[in-house]
Amino acid sequence: MPMTRRALLAGASLLAFSTAVQARTYSGGIPWKAARSNPPEIFDPEARFFTPEERAFISAAVDRLIPADDFPSATESGVVTFLENQLSGAYGRGDIYYMKGPFRKGEPTQGYQSQAPGILYRQAIADINTLLKSEQNKSFTDLSPDEQDTFLMRLSEGKAELEHVDGKTFFDTFWQDTQLGFFGDPVHGGNRDMASWKMLGFPGARYDYREYVNHDGRKLSFEPVSVAGNFMKEAH
């Protein structure tokens, strides 16, 4: 077969490629060091974001959102500790959000559009107490549980006009954070004794269910497990 110009060029480029690139076999693995690991950050029981007045508001409000029944209330479950940790950390500072301009009112479908959550909480609590003072000459903690429920309902429906922040945005954020504290892993400060997991029958941070694939929906009654361990019954 006569060598065409095209074949010659193709061959030449292939040759250049194959001499420039040498086949290499890589062996080994991801870096590994004995006794080293990257454990989850464990909450600090002393972490404080709220002032005592703010903390009193938060404690009263979360226990209206999740009151005690057969299972512990939000405060008993450590939700306030969870919120103190979250708001004094990266979440409270809004580190996970783009926080620069332009500032326009976003659509609800655009997700969280407010200021850093720490500022939102602080401003909202102050505004709520200002509103309640002007309307009823009481702060939130002075209200009866029923009155507190009524006010929280009003907030959730967007019917409480706050001076600096959007009341519904605050309520939605606060309600979501409360649930995260109540149902999240105890490593973050809430869900003490994995009470909510026991309530749901959620097994926690286990990672292999092959044994139970053919369990046909029967109840497994697993002891829940945290990502940080804590397996000793007496330590609970």
């Binding site: 076999t25 062996s27 693995g29 006794a35 690991s37 990672y207 361990g229 397996f231 000793m232 330590a235």
Partner: protein, 415 residues
């Protein structure tokens, strides 16, 4: 047949055809390619690099600090440097070191150098190793003096030690055993010096022989498990020859994967061995004289451990995903714990270190990406480590004495 790669083919033939090469078979120029290549092979078989290569940039230049119960000793420079290495040594000097543990001036070497094993190495093999070492780049590397206390710092005490612990043996094939077995015997007892780690040591740091040989020993802070049934540990009694040769060649077999110091041995030494030599080692090591039957009687406390709620909870949630709900592991991937030698060893050091620190398998040609087990030191409290260790030691048909919280604490302090 004319073979284009004659020298290599000759080596392969030399290595595979005869279990032990008689003297006349290698009566050739000691500097031929084949002798040097054979020397490299034997140097690897002896895992010389483990102690004599401290800096990978300076192979065999020594000065590797080896911690012993008596103090730290630094390995010799094996490169042919006149002032600091073997440059002025003769093949006779080298053979005397290998065979008698003596330096050219007659003073004794310390037995951190396994001359107690290398005494079995044939003159021919010793000369091939020496011929190979002579081809290395000379490296000027001073070696620190042994940090032994008086009187051990006087080399003359080695005379007494040798009188008690050194037997200047010659290799003689054992009658009634196959040529393969005898080749395995020569490699394991000689260059391979397996017993340096896998046998217990007496108060003088010498290996125990006889019934105690290969019943496991401490090495570099790890417990090298028994190679024959001892206490509750099965040794290699339930490993096939293929299990042994695969383990030494690939760092992995159907039972487990190598880690810790044995991973280094495989990486620097045994993975280079020829298949016939690996099979010979397997033939010998699976035929170590068993001095006892596996003890399956459980004491009350260990029975309790097997049903411990905490132990089972930790195992089911943390270990079972890889090691299997019934300790069955995943073949060629994750170690089987049921029937495991290390899990059931009387000395729990290695098991506990693995739980606390995690481990990493060794990359080999067949398995280039090794698995790693994560450390649990941050997650499990001492009592939880104890509970899960006792659980795996006594569940799945296993049995072994209970470990204690102080065993765990000691290792935590050490790591």
């Amino acid at each position: 047949m004319i073979h284009p790669n004659f020298p290599k083919a000759a080596i392969v033939a030399a290595l595979t055809a005869l279990p032990i090469l008689p003297a006349h078979a290698v009566a050739q120029d000691k500097n031929t390619y084949s002798t040097i290549e054979r020397g490299l092979y034997l140097t690897r078989a002896g895992d010389c690099a483990a102690c004599h290569t401290s800096d990978p940039e300076k192979p065999y230049a020594g000065n590797y600090p080896l911690a012993t119960p008596f103090g730290t000793i630094h390995s010799s420079n094996l490169t042919p440097d006149d002032a600091t290495g073997l440059g002025k040594w003769t093949a006779d000097d080298f053979y005397k070191a290998m065979n008698e543990g003596k330096r050219p001036d007659g003073s004794g070497l310390y037995p951190a150098f396994p001359y107690t094993h290398f005494t079995l190495v044939t003159r021919e093999d010793s000369e091939a190793i020496f011929a190979y070492l002579k081809t290395l780049e000379p490296v000027s590397q001073k070696v620190e003096k042994p940090g032994f206390p008086f009187p051990l710092n006087e080399r003359v005490v080695m005379k007494g030690w040798n009188a008690l612990n050194f037997d200047d043996r010659k290799f003689t094939p054992v009658d009634g055993k196959s040529a393969e077995w005898n080749r395995g015997y020569y490699l394991a007892e000689g260059l391979g010096h397996c017993a340096m780690c896998h046998s217990p040591k007496n108060m003088l740091g010498a290996e125990e022989n006889g019934a105690a040989a290969y019943t496991g020993g401490m090495a570099e802070g790890w417990f090298a498990p028994p190679l024959k049934a001892h206490g509750n540990a099965p040794g290699l009694s339930d490993w096939s020859k293929k299990d042994v040769s695969d383990y030494l060649k690939y760092g992995r077999n159907e039972q487990t994967a190598a880690f810790g110091p044995m991973a280094d041995v495989i990486s620097k030494s045994t993975r280079y061995l020829s298949d016939p030599d690996l099979e010979a080692l397997a033939a010998y090591l699976t035929d170590l004289p068993n001095t006892q039957e596996k003890d399956n009687t459980k004491t009350g406390s260990t029975q309790e451990a097997a049903s411990s709620d905490t132990g089972k909870l930790v195992y089911d949630t943390q270990c079972a995903a890889c090691h299997g709900a019934q300790g069955e592991g995943v073949k060629l991937q994750f170690a089987k714990l049921a029937g495991s030698n290390i899990v059931q060893s009387d000395n729990p050091t290695t098991l506990l270190r693995v739980i606390l620190e995690g481990t990493k398998a060794v990359p080999t040609a067949k398995y280039p990406t090794p698995h790693a087990m994560p450390a649990f030191n941050w997650k499990l409290k001492n009592d939880e480590v104890v509970a899960v260790a006792n659980y795996v030691r006594n569940a799945f048909g296993n049995s072994a004495p209970a470990v204690s919280s102080s065993d765990v604490e000691k290792l935590r302090q050490g790591s």
